[in-house]
């Protein structure tokens, strides 16, 4: 892939330049076609279309959020390139004007260099590649010198040599960019289209220069064909960019709104007012009973609340932190309950991260709804295993169980936990439950070392 891409670009460039020159040469040699009215009309139409696109581009750059001025510049340069083409010179001459080939030659060359530069710039922007400053200086300086040299040599009739130097420089730059993009795995349809557009404008300018130097006699319609193709390609680039931008915008919108809702829900957990007030009431009655268990309850409750505030800032926390939260929660619940809930930590393996308060949500659900405290041998087990390079996490109880198809609606917490597992670890928690036998929640995901979690920053 890495090699094929620059080769394709180079190949299509050579093909385009070669074919353009050949067509122009053959047309001049075997059929002296005068610029008829039809070519003139076609020329004017195409010029008008370029102008229209430029206007649309300018308007959209100002009006539409997320659009880019890169395409405006490309459109402008293509328009200038075509306006100074050999076709345009012929058209003028047929209508009685005299145009200096040197002025036209140098104007079209400048337009060509700018359009190529814009193509490169657009590619850099599209793929987020930073260009080396020295390389940038070298490219712009050498193409400036080549253009200057062309202006001088046009007078002596060999401006095309300097032009081909320019083509060579930009071909190298485009190849470099495409290679970098391919190395990052970012090559898409629009890459190929931009490369083709580059080749075509190189072709049209090659014919222009050859005509102005008098190597070939300008054949009407050659640059017209090129311009028409350029126009189509430009439209394709524009479409590709719009689709790309829409895709990106869509993704970031989805992510933003989900992140917001998670935060809201996390907050809802933190300040679930009835939980706090019930807890305070429990603490008070524990203190009346005996001071020590009151102290223990205060410690557990404040650790739990602090953990939930801290969780607000993190996408992932080490599993040990989550276990601390679960421990604080279940111990606190047990202080309040006459029938203790047996919570078993079967956690041999802890070197991974989870979304904060996610596993706790499942434990909380089991504490509240499974009814294990009313059962003789009732228990909740939190189990973590290393399974190759994957983590197998299970939360199961032998309580009442429920019908998993009926959990929608009120089970915001469960859905929220599942969503966060999906967003952060690409894991989908599976809930299996049978009435009378209990509930088992299984999550499996690749093992990410806990160092990556937010909490370990700076430790």
């Amino acid at each position: 892939m890495k090699r094929i891409l620059p080769l394709t670009a180079l190949g299509s460039l050579l093909l385009s330049v070669g074919a353009g020159t050949a067509v122009s040469f053959l047309l001049t040699r075997y059929g002296q076609i005068s610029p008829s009215l039809a070519t003139g009309a076609a020329f004017m139409t195409l010029l008008g279309l370029f102008l229209l696109i430029l206007v649309v581009e300018i308007v959209s750059a100002f009006k539409i959020e997320g659009s880019t001025y890169h395409t405006v510049l490309i459109a402008g340069c293509l328009l200038a390139l075509y306006a100074f083409s050999a076709d345009s010179k012929l058209f003028m001459e047929c209508n009685g004007g005299t145009i200096s080939p040197i002025v036209f030659g140098i104007s079209s060359e400048i337009a060509f260099v700018l359009s190529e530069a814009c193509c490169c710039w657009y590619l850099l922007y599209l793929y987020g590649i930073a260009m080396n400053g020295k390389l940038f200086a070298a490219v712009s300086l050498s193409s400036m010198f080549a253009t200057l040299a062309e202006a001088v040599s046009l007078i002596y009739g060999f401006g095309y040599i300097a032009h081909f130097v320019n083509v060579g420089i930009f071909a190298c730059v485009i190849c470099l960019i495409l290679r970098r993009a391919a190395a990052c795995g970012k090559v898409g349809l629009s890459t190929y289209i931009v490369a083709l557009l580059f080749s075509l404008s190189a072709g049209v300018q090659s014919i222009n220069t050859l005509c102005y130097d008098g190597v070939v006699t300008a054949a009407p319609g050659v640059t017209l064909v090129y311009a028409a193709l350029s126009l189509c390609l430009f439209l394709a680039v524009y479409l590709a960019f719009s689709v790309h931008a829409d895709l990106l915008a869509g993704q970031s919108d989805e992510y933003r709104s989900e992140a917001l809702s998670f935060k809201t829900k996390a907050l809802a957990w933190q300040i679930k007012p009835h939980f706090i007030f019930n807890s305070l009431e429990a603490v008070r009655s524990l203190y009346q009973h005996d001071v020590k268990s009151g102290d223990a309850a205060i410690g557990l409750l404040s650790d739990l609340l602090r953990g939930s505030i801290h969780a607000f800032d993190c996408e992932l926390v080490p599993f040990e932190t989550e276990l601390d939260n679960i421990f604080n929660y279940t111990e606190f619940e047990n202080l309040k309950r006459p029938h203790k809930i047996e919570v078993l930590f079967d956690t041999d393996f802890t070197d991974f991260s989870v979304p904060p308060f996610s596993v706790l949500t499942y434990v909380e659900n089991a504490v509240k709804h499974s009814g294990v405290d009313e059962k003789e041998d009732g228990r909740i087990v939190i189990s973590s295993r290393e399974n190759g390079d994957r983590v197998l996490l299970e939360i199961y109880d032998n309580g009442k169980g429920f019908d998993p198809s009926e959990i929608r609606g009120e089970a915001h917490g469960l859905q929220n936990a599942a969503e966060r597992f999906r967003m952060t670890l690409s894991a989908v928690p599976r809930i299996a439950s049978k009435i009378g036998e209990g509930t088992r929640i299984t999550v499996e995901f690749p093992c990410t070392s806990k160092e990556k979690s937010d909490e370990d920053r700076g430790h």
């Binding site: 102290d295 223990a296 410690g299 801290h310 111990e331 930590f345 079967d346 700076g458």
Partner: protein
């Protein structure tokens, strides 16, 4: 040892005083007079500063930086109600900060920090004759489950030998099937580890399916009795646990000799 405590709330200062009064600690309290704090620290040799983070007139973190500028080696502990962590501190502060004492703090956590500052390892004393109880620096250790306490008792009875999971299950959970017994074992290990961490005692090595005990900072009546024959053995050893019977004959033999 000299420490400085900075907290704007009077009741918080008072509860601090209650915790450190029985230690060999000279405590100096400040509320919110930054100049007084800095000039005191500049003039005196201070081992550690306990400072609140959010105070109405002073920013605890900035104050701590000024203190570190004055005294390079001073240890800093932040007393805070918010989940402040090391990640919130500047590079300079991290070097001197021992940790965070989250409000409301327990006597255990405070003792841990004082131990750290005094570079003192807490002494665990274990009582096995009659019932089984542990005391860290004289305070009774509360285990979070009966089985994790029993597991620790077994480890003490093993007297420094490593205790494998199979052995532990054979003693404590022989009535359960293998899979369930393993779960119960791991749960007991998890809880034991938590309890010991909470009291700042680091004497158990938690390996894969094996536990080891470092006897250095533990005093145990059973071990002393095995060595010297002196102590309060009256025919009862870890009497709450069924498996303790196998340990009685050697103890009785020592008792018969003396």
């Amino acid at each position: 040892m000299k420490i400085v405590v900075i907290d704007d709330e009077l009741y918080a200062l008072q509860s601090f005083l209650g915790e450190v009064v029985d230690r060999d600690v000279e405590c100096r309290y400040f509320r919110d007079d930054e100049q007084a704090i800095l000039s005191y620290i500049a003039k005196n040799s201070v081992d550690a500063v306990f400072s609140d983070v959010n105070m109405p007139t002073i920013d605890g973190l900035k104050l701590a930086e000024k203190i570190v500028d004055l005294k390079k080696d001073v240890a800093i502990v932040f007393i805070t109600g918010m989940p402040v962590t090391m990640a919130d501190l500047s590079e300079k502060l991290r070097r001197n900060t021992l940790g965070f004492l989250y409000k409301p703090y327990s006597a255990n956590r405070l003792s841990e920090f004082l131990n750290l500052i005094q570079k003192r390892v807490p002494l665990l004393s274990v009582r096995t004759f009659d019932g089984f109880d542990c005391f860290a620096d004289g305070k009774l250790v509360t285990f979070t489950s009966a089985k994790s306490k029993e597991l620790f008792a077994l480890l003490i009875a093993y007297n420094g030998n490593s205790l494998t999971m199979t052995d532990a299950i054979a003693h404590l959970w022989q009535d359960n099937d293998v899979e369930k017994a393993k779960i119960l074992y791991r749960n007991a290990v998890f809880r034991l580890r938590k309890t010991l961490t909470d009291v700042g005692v680091d004497c158990v090595g938690f390996g894969r399916a094996v536990l080891t005990l470092d006897k250095t900072n533990i005093s145990c009546d059973y071990w002393d009795y095995l060595k010297t024959g002196g102590g309060a053995y009256r025919g009862e050893f870890l009497k709450n646990y069924d498996w303790s019977i196998e340990y009685l004959p050697p103890l009785d033999a020592i008792a018969a000799k003396s």
